[in-house]
C-alpha cells in the first residue's frame, strides 16, 4: 500500500501542467548619469493573495536594496533568506531577456484557477515599476499576455504552452 501511495505521489509531482512558462522582459536603456541595472522580482498570486508563489529574482547580492522591490518584499521577500526562492540570478543589462519558469515544481503544482504574474523592477537611485499579467492555470491552449512599463520596464510578455 505504502509503495503504491508513493508511486501515485511521484506521478502527480512529475506531471507537468505546462511545457513552458516563458517570460520575456525588456530592460530599457536609460540615459541617466548613474545607472545601475534594476533588481527584478517575479511571482504569482491569486486574486485574494491566499496563494503567493515566488518565481525568481535578479539581484546583485546586495540584500540592502531588496526592500526597495516593495511589493515583492512585502508579499514574499521579507519571509525568505538567501538563496531566494525560484530561479534567482544576477541583474540583467539593458536589452531583451527570456526566462522559463516551467522547471519550478512549485509552479507545476499550482492548483487550477485564475492568477497574475507580477513583475516588479526597482533600480538603485532610480524608480520602481510593477506590471501584472493575468493568466488561467492550467493553460488549455497556448496563452500569451503582454504589458508595457513606462519607465523601469519595457515590454513584458508571458507565454504559457501546455
Amino acid at each position: 500500500m505504502r509503495v503504491l501511495l508513493t508511486f501515485c505521489l511521484a506521478l502527480v509531482a512529475s506531471h507537468s501542467l505546462a511545457e513552458s512558462f516563458r517570460v520575456e522582459v525588456e530592460v530599457p536603456r536609460l540615459r541617466v548619469a548613474e545607472y545601475h541595472a534594476p533588481y527584478v522580482a517575479f511571482w504569482v498570486e491569486n486574486p485574494d493573495r491566499s496563494t503567493i508563489l515566488p518565481l525568481g529574482l535578479w539581484y546583485d547580492d546586495q540584500e540592502k536594496w531588496l526592500k526597495d522591490i516593495r511589493q515583492w518584499w512585502r508579499r514574499t521577500g521579507r519571509g525568505q533568506s538567501k538563496p531566494y526562492d525560484g530561479l534567482t540570478g544576477a541583474t540583467r543589462p539593458p536589452g531583451n531577456h527570456s526566462i522559463d519558469f516551467a522547471e519550478l515544481k512549485a509552479l507545476q503544482d499550482l492548483p487550477p484557477g485564475e492568477y497574475e504574474l507580477i513583475v516588479e523592477a526597482a533600480r538603485e537611485v532610480g524608480g520602481r515599476e510593477v506590471l501584472r499579467l493575468p493568466f488561467q492555470w492550467p493553460a488549455e491552449q497556448a496563452q500569451t499576455q503582454q504589458a508595457s512599463g513606462d519607465n523601469e520596464l519595457g515590454t513584458v510578455t508571458l507565454t504559457i504552452t501546455p
Binding site: 531588496l66 526592500k67 518584499w73 512585502r74 521579507r78 533568506s81
Partner: protein, 268 residues
C-alpha cells in the same frame, strides 16, 4: 550621569506632560523596515512641528526589545541641543520595540498663599522635602511612553507583546506592515485591560510644508479597538492619553498616562 543633568532631564519630561505645554514628544527612527542587518539611528525630541527638532528629549531610559524578547544593543546615546540620538543594532530577523518610558511625580502646593511646584521621580523623598507649612498639596504621577517599532526581514510579534503596565497598544495589525490606503486595527490597553473611549490623535509628518495640521482622531470602542486608515505614505505621529487613580504612591491623587508613537506607512 550627574544628578543635575538627570534632574534637568526629568524636568523636561514632566514639563512636557503638563497641559500648559502642548508640545509633542516623539522618537523618529531612520528606517522601519530593512532587508540586511544594520544599525538604525533614532532621534528623540520635543516640538510643535512634526517632525522638526526643538528640544532634546532625554533617552537615558531607552529600552530596545529584540525579536525573541531579549534586550538589543543601543549605542551612542547622546543628548544634543535640540534632540537626543541613539543607534540600535538590528542583527536578528524580526521586529524590535524601541521604547523610552519613565514614570515621574509632580508636586503642587502653597506656602503662605504662594504657589510652588516640585518635580522628581522619588515620591517619598519629594514629600519628605515638603516645607512643614505647605498647604493644598497635590501630587500627580505621570507616565509617558514613547515608542516606535523597526523590523529586519519579516515582522514578528514577540517584542510587541504588551507588558500589562500603563497605557499601551496591542498591535493586531503589525506596525511595520502599514501601507497607504490600508486600515490598521489596534487595541488600547491600560494595565493590560482594553481601554474604551480614548481619543487617539494622528498627525502626518511634514507639518512645516503645509498650512494645516491635517490631524485627525479615532476613538476606541468598548473593546478598546481603533481602526486607523492611512491616507498616504509617510511617517505619522500618534498620541493618546488618559488618567486614573491607579497611582503607585498612596499620596499621589492622579495618574496621567500618555502613549506617543511614531509609525511609518509605505507606498504600495
Amino acid at each position: 550621569m550627574p544628578s543635575l543633568l538627570k534632574q534637568l532631564g526629568l524636568a523636561t519630561l514632566l514639563a512636557a506632560a503638563l497641559p500648559a505645554h502642548a508640545h509633542k514628544l516623539w522618537l523618529l527612527p531612520s528606517h522601519t523596515a530593512v532587508s540586511e542587518p544594520q544599525w538604525v539611528t533614532v532621534d528623540a525630541s520635543i516640538s510643535n512641528e512634526i517632525f522638526g527638532f526643538e528640544r532634546a528629549y532625554p533617552v537615558d531610559t531607552v529600552q530596545v526589545t529584540g525579536p525573541s524578547g531579549e534586550r538589543a544593543a543601543v549605542d551612542n546615546a547622546t543628548r544634543m541641543h535640540t534632540r537626543s540620538v541613539f543607534d540600535v543594532q538590528l542583527e536578528q530577523e524580526g521586529s524590535y520595540r524601541i521604547a523610552v518610558a519613565q514614570p515621574g511625580f509632580f508636586l503642587m502646593y502653597e506656602v503662605d498663599g504662594e504657589r510652588k511646584r516640585a518635580r522628581g521621580n522619588d515620591a517619598a523623598q519629594m514629600l519628605k522635602e515638603l516645607p512643614a507649612n505647605a498647604s493644598n498639596v497635590k501630587m500627580m504621577e505621570s507616565h509617558n511612553r514613547l515608542e516606535t517599532v523597526v523590523t529586519l526581514g519579516a515582522p514578528n510579534n514577540t517584542a510587541l507583546n504588551p507588558t500589562g503596565k500603563g497605557l499601551e497598544i496591542e498591535f493586531l495589525s503589525h506596525p511595520n506592515d502599514l501601507y497607504a490606503g490600508e486600515t490598521a486595527k489596534w487595541r488600547l490597553l491600560v494595565d493590560g485591560k482594553p481601554a474604551r473611549n480614548l481619543k487617539v490623535e494622528l498627525v502626518p509628518g511634514g507639518t512645516r510644508y503645509r498650512d494645516s495640521q491635517e490631524d485627525w482622531s479615532v476613538t476606541s470602542d468598548k473593546k478598546g479597538l481603533v481602526e486607523i486608515t492611512w491616507p498616504s505614505a509617510g511617517r505619522y505621529f500618534l498620541e493618546v492619553g488618559t488618567s486614573d487613580k491607579q497611582t503607585s504612591h498612596p499620596k499621589a491623587d492622579e495618574r496621567r498616562l500618555q502613549y506617543l508613537g511614531t509609525f511609518e506607512v509605505l507606498p504600495m
